[in-house]
Symmetry: C2
Subunit: 368 residues, 2 copies
């Protein structure tokens, strides 16, 4: 593994012991995570949902904005926002998570947005399903493979100037849950979440949820743009092609109990009954079990997991655990298991720090 | 100056060249700045305003919540939210800025929330003036000196367990602009901004804007709690008492033009006319002039400054500057001057990194 790689297209890997740089900090102060106490809300309140924007939040005039649907279609479409909003509207509660969540604790650390664990949120998204627009209105030409979604956000990434764009396999684009979204938590989309229109692909990591949509193009070839072919791939060596990042792996997070120290964020609770709660999710298969350890991972107990909501299969699920705290210092852990497997206890390193679902550890001091 | 000081009550100063630590990062991923492109909005949209919470965002039930007004008063009050909301309502557009804005670029770096420049925002706050509640309803006892505001947020800071509490001099508390606030941008206060009730003291740095208010106590002695006597003081040596941090010093920020590199955040523009705009403010005196330099500070030109809004004297003010960019690399700077002075070109260091209003520098590459 090359610890330092200066070829264009390669993200840098931090040296052993290297602190967070001002470049990583500049991303951390712009973008923001969901403070973990907000796991208490079924729906993440405005302003607490995580935000990751690759470039600047673009200024889009919703009055003159249009969505162009083109490429390999029989009838290209150009739609104003009010025209789109006349399509059948649906609202779905969907968890989103950044593919880079947990990156900052990897060793060595891939240099990018330095998330700890907070790059999550669950909102109620309002929009219209994409499939009828493609199948019934535009009409797919033969040989469609990928649907390419392009946003208005413009920048440079590892030497490549681009509008943010992602290809999504046709079958995923045609899922009934995949939607073009203009509302969040009952209000118009805020600027940082993609106003006036974004894509929501339930179950996929955040890179697929293209914001500030301007174009939807049907492609008869797999999309090879930067965000699919270079970024968002699981690879250990820089000369691998790697597998694409797709669906969200299982994760459970607990709301740290008690109160924090301002600077260390270490937690304090008083001995006695301490209710613990959190949320669990997976984008690839239903969550079947959530466990909690109160002894640093030596032993595990099953938490009480709320039943899945059949109307909102891609929302997170609440869990609770009744803990009786004894004085001392310890680590709380939680892990989720879905039908395909459990969260790992050791990090599975990859050079972009993607899809890392290492279990959460919360150091706690229990006072007398 | 002691570069390392382990006495309780003293914030740590980073060693020369020490990267940002995981403790500072944990604060940066919880709290968040306003991405500087949001300087384009007169009123900062929900979720883009800066947020700094010392401890956790507390869970407050607005139904059972009450505000207690006590201490040296003739008639202690206990008010439910709907009772408070029957008082005369006012809405004011007010800029807030964290006292630690700019801390992360100080050398050596005080270890705390590592803001670069984004800890600002301007909202429309709705509430009721504090003075009539104190003067007419509760009635001040003789000898009142400070008004102590206590929030529901609880934590430990440099060894001191506390509910966040700040004392404000009586004259500031009785200013007609000082208000108890339940609304932000036309909606109820979001949790992270102090729901159900917070204080807004226009012109003062953020530490005075106490959130999640539970108590207002009139004191006949100067308040000596942690947030007044230990934190939020301007001092260079750790054994100084230092001056208290109070009103916001003048600052101008520009919205970085063109487009960014994802990782370095360096800016790119094309040669030719490039309109530059930003906002300027001061909490201590009216802003009289905003200047821009396009040559790294060698020469300065006056920007066009929007007139002050007499209804909103504590809002930021928009400014514009018409730049014709020539190919090359350069730094854009901007500085504000108020009736009491200008922003410094060299940082004025203090050991908590407070009230630092060093001019902004934005490196830009101008392409052919």
């Amino acid at each position: 593994m090359a610890a330092t790689d200066s070829r264009p297209g390669m993200a840098r890997i931090a040296e052993a012991g290297e602190g967070i740089g001002l470049d990583e900090l500049a991303l951390a102060t712009r973008n923001h995570g969901m403070p973990l106490e907000a796991l208490r809300y079924d729906v993440t309140p405005p302003g607490l949902h995580y935000v990751l924007t690759h470039y600047d939040i673009p200024l889009v005039d919703p009055g003159s904005w249009r969505l162009e649907i083109g490429g390999a279609v029989e009838r290209p479409l150009s739609l104003a926002l009010d025209e789109l909003m006349r399509r059948p509207a649906v609202t779905a509660r969907v968890l989103l998570e950044c593919a880079g969540n947990g990156r900052a604790r990897l060793e060595p650390r891939p240099v990018s947005q330095p998330w700890l664990l907070e790059a999550v949120g669950t909102a109620e998204w309002t929009g219209t399903p994409l499939a009828p627009l493609l199948l019934e209105e535009a009409g797919l030409s033969p040989g469609a493979v990928d649907i390419v979604f392009t946003g208005a956000d413009h920048g440079v990434e590892r030497g490549v100037e681009q509008d943010y764009a992602r290809g999504l396999p046709l079958a995923e684009a045609l899922r009934p849950e995949t939607m073009l979204v203009w509302g969040m938590n009952g209000s118009p989309l805020p600027p940082q979440h993609g106003a006036p229109l974004r894509l929501v692909v339930p179950g996929w990591y955040g890179m697929a949820q293209v914001k500030w949509l301007t174009r939807v193009d049907v492609s008869t070839e797999p999309f090879t743009g930067f965000q699919n072919a270079t970024a968002y791939r699981l690879k250990v060596d820089s000369d691998e092609d790697g597998e694409p990042v797709t669906r969200i792996r299982p994760r459970s997070l607990l709301a740290p109990p008690g109160w924090p120290d301002f600077m260390t964020r270490e937690r304090f609770v008083r001995a006695g009954p301490v209710p613990i709660s959190g949320r669990a999710w997976s984008g690839r298969a239903p969550v079947t079990r959530v466990e909690v350890s109160t002894d640093g991972g030596e032993t595990w107990s099953e938490a009480g997991l709320a039943p899945a909501d059949p109307r909102n299969p891609f929302a997170w699920r609440r869990w609770t655990y009744d803990w009786t705290a004894q004085p001392g210092r310890l680590e709380l852990l939680t892990r989720a298991t879905d039908e395909a497997g459990s969260q790992p206890l050791e990090a599975e390193w990859n050079r972009q720090g993607m899809a890392n679902n290492l279990v959460q550890r919360v150091p706690v001091t229990v006072l007398e």
